[in-house]
């Protein structure tokens, strides 16, 4: 029997974080967890010598207070860079899942989950950003689960719910929550909100089994997005990264067909498409943190600080997916990231 501790059987609480109502809500869900009071979340999260994959088997929760940089503007590495007034925010660092290609394992030295509990400060920052946005004729678009999968952990860290309620009071705010979960149940009691976009990343089941450890099977994701759409929530589809395994063409063709059989194309806000691409530094760290995946050892090109497929492979992957997807949706609904 494994002697690994259960997930979240250990909760680190940064000095001052305890006072926030959101922290109290979370702590109440883990009455038997070992609580360790710490000065600063970085004393735990940034420790040298952590074993990322070991921690993934026994994740700790770290409750912390975000002190600055509540919202980030788009930059050249961020999806959304071409969208007016785009920002993203990091409410949580890391996620429950363990995808082999995830940039987070290159970005962080720890697999533990940091939850920032001072939501009030984030809301204030969002209100400031709304009033100061560069293009006031367009809404502020805010990706709230950029470095995490918030819906996956909604039962224990109810961020989505809090943000949806906040967004209802802000007529010029559009929020996006991206997920690989099938956890529709966590939100189904809420009234749909036209400016809260639920985005599902979809992959063929064989890709999920090989590279998206602990995530929901594709059928559960499709069921969740179909129910959300039927309930009136705007939904976005993400096929990113398209991974070229054996029989990838037929796998993705089947996935696209199945997806649009479950959700009418008109109900989709847009579709995001991309290939494997990672900042070189993150890739090198991923290789160290995730030595058990063939994705870390494939033949890639390094261009302008990015590790990705060689140009001809990228073209092949994107051309194929674009051609197949435009059988269901108009080309102008397709956002391509390479």
């Amino acid at each position: 029997m494994s002697q690994a501790a259960k997930h979240f059987s250990r909760i680190y609480v940064e000095r001052g974080a305890n006072a926030y109502p959101f922290a109290q809500q979370i702590l109440q869900r883990f009455p038997t967890a070992q609580r360790v009071d710490i000065e600063d979340y970085r004393d735990v999260f940034n420790r040298p010598g952590q074993d990322f994959q070991r921690q993934k088997q026994s994740k700790a929760l770290i409750l912390a207070r975000k002190k600055q940089d509540f919202l980030y503007p788009a930059n050249e590495y961020v999806q959304g860079r071409d969208v007016a007034n785009f920002h993203y925010t990091t409410l949580q660092l890391n996620c429950l899942y363990n995808c082999a290609y995830c940039f987070l394992q290159g970005m962080y030295t720890s697999a533990n989950l940091v939850a920032f509990v001072n939501l009030e400060d984030y809301f204030e920052a969002a209100e400031r950003a709304l009033s100061q946005r560069s293009n006031p004729s367009k809404p502020l678009e805010l990706a709230i689960s950029y470095e995490s999968d918030l819906l996956a952990s909604e039962r224990i860290l109810p961020y989505c719910r809090e943000w949806i309620e906040f967004a209802r009071q802000q007529p010029d705010l559009v929020i996006e929550m991206r997920t690989k979960s099938g956890n529709w149940a966590a939100l189904q009691d809420l009234e749909p909100h036209p400016r809260a976009v639920l985005a599902w990343t979809l992959s063929p089941q064989e890709i999920i089994e090989r590279y998206e450890q602990d995530t929901a099977p594709v059928n559960q994701r499709l069921k969740a997005l179909s129910l959300a759409s039927q309930a009136g929530w705007p939904v976005r589809l993400c096929f990113d990264p398209v991974l070229p395994n054996a029989n990838w063409r037929s796998s993705y063709r089947e996935l696209f067909t199945e997806t649009f059989a479950r959700i009418p194309p008109n109900n989709v806000v847009d579709v995001s498409l991309g290939v494997f691409r990672l900042n070189t530094e993150y890739f090198n760290r991923l290789k160290k943190n995730r030595p058990d995946t063939d994705l870390a050892y494939r033949f890639y090109h390094r261009e302008n600080g990015v590790v990705t497929h060689p140009h001809n492979e990228r073209e092949m992957l994107i051309d194929f997916a674009r051609t197949e997807l435009t059988r269901f949706i108009p080309a102008d609904k397709l956002q391509i990231w390479t």
């Binding site: 494994s2 002697q3 690994a4 501790a5 259960k6 059987s9 250990r10 680190y12 070992q34 360790v36 009071d37 710490i38 000065e39 600063d40 004393d43 735990v44 420790r47 040298p48 010598g49 952590q50 074993d51 990322f52 994959q53 070991r54 921690q55 088997q57 026994s58 070229p244 395994n245 054996a246 990838w248 943190n289 030595p291 058990d292 995946t293 063939d294 870390a296 050892y297 494939r298 033949f299 497929h309 060689p310 492979e313 092949m316 992957l317």
Partner: protein
């Protein structure tokens, strides 16, 4: 002969004695000035008192270990600690989950990834004995003189989950003399509990990098030498072989591809580069 993979670092001989007797450890050559004891499952080193002594002994031990090219050990700082909490009985064992280096104002958070039954607590490492402290001087549950030094040294050599701190409550910081014989008896009585916790900690091994199987490694080494691959090419081909292995491609396929190249080694650079490309196609490290 392999050395044990579990090492205990104690400050004092009186802390070490119940472990030496209980585990039947034999005296080995000292490491520098540090007494070293060893059995089949456990080794032990006596550091002397203070964070610097503990760091020096731990560093000496782990430098020695590194030279043996064995698997990474688990090291445990085990010893006495004062408690400011009178609810913690003398003789109680505590697994330490936070260590404050009081003089340096630094925090060390041991990585406890395993299940265990011990109570946990925080500990402050002081460089001088703490006796009847003024209120507010001690902010942690326990007080000792070694753990921070031990952890600082261990972290220079090991992943953080391979270093743990277990303390036995020796006094309540009230200035009363400690009963050494009673404390040794407590350690002896709880040896089984200590072993269980250590076994759980030791079972948390490191994430290992995948390795080529022996036959493929031989073929790869031959390829590198016969074809005079550059370091970059060697690293690429090695990566592709690992990728093929992780994808479940039969090893024999990869081996056949390598052996075909070894049988007709390239005569010049251009031919060598072409062979590497040929290998890339054969091992399919890109789009399948």
């Amino acid at each position: 002969m392999n050395e044990p993979d579990i090492w205990i670092v104690t400050a004092l001989s009186i802390e070490a004695r119940p472990l030496i007797d209980g585990w039947g450890l034999r005296r080995m050559d000292d490491l520098g000035r540090f007494e070293r004891w060893q059995g089949d499952a456990y080794g032990l080193i006596v550091s002397g008192v203070g964070p610097t002594a503990s760091a020096a002994a731990t560093a000496a031990l782990l430098t020695h270990r590194a030279s043996l090219q064995q698997s990474l050990p688990l090291v445990v700082n085990l010893g006495f600690a004062g408690s400011r909490n009178r609810d913690q009985a003398i003789g109680e064992l505590v697994l330490v989950n936070r260590v404050r280096a009081v003089d340096a104002q630094r925090e060390f958070i041991p990585e406890i990834l395993f299940r265990h039954e011990l109570p946990e607590g925080s500990l402050g490492t002081h460089s001088r004995p703490v006796i009847q402290p003024e209120p507010g001087v001690v902010e942690t549950d326990l007080v000792d003189m070694e753990a921070a030094g031990f952890l600082e040294a261990a972290r220079a050599f090991l992943p953080i989950h391979r270093a743990q701190v277990i303390k036995l409550v020796s006094d309540h910081l009230d200035g009363r003399p400690i009963d050494k014989a009673a404390l040794q008896a407590h350690l002896k009585d709880q040896l089984e509990t200590i072993e269980l916790v250590i076994a759980a900690a030791a079972s948390m091994e490191n994430t290992a990098c995948p390795r080529l199987d022996a036959a493929l490694q031989v073929a790869f080494d031959a390829l590198r030498e016969r074809c005079r691959l550059t370091d970059a090419q060697s690293s690429q081909v090695h990566d592709w072989l690992i990728a093929a292995m992780l994808r479940g491609q039969p090893t024999t396929e990869a081996q056949t591809a390598l052996e075909a190249v070894i049988a007709a080694p390239p005569a010049h650079k251009r031919e060598r580069n072409a062979l590497v490309e040929h290998l890339r196609d054969a091992l399919k490290p890109g789009v399948e």
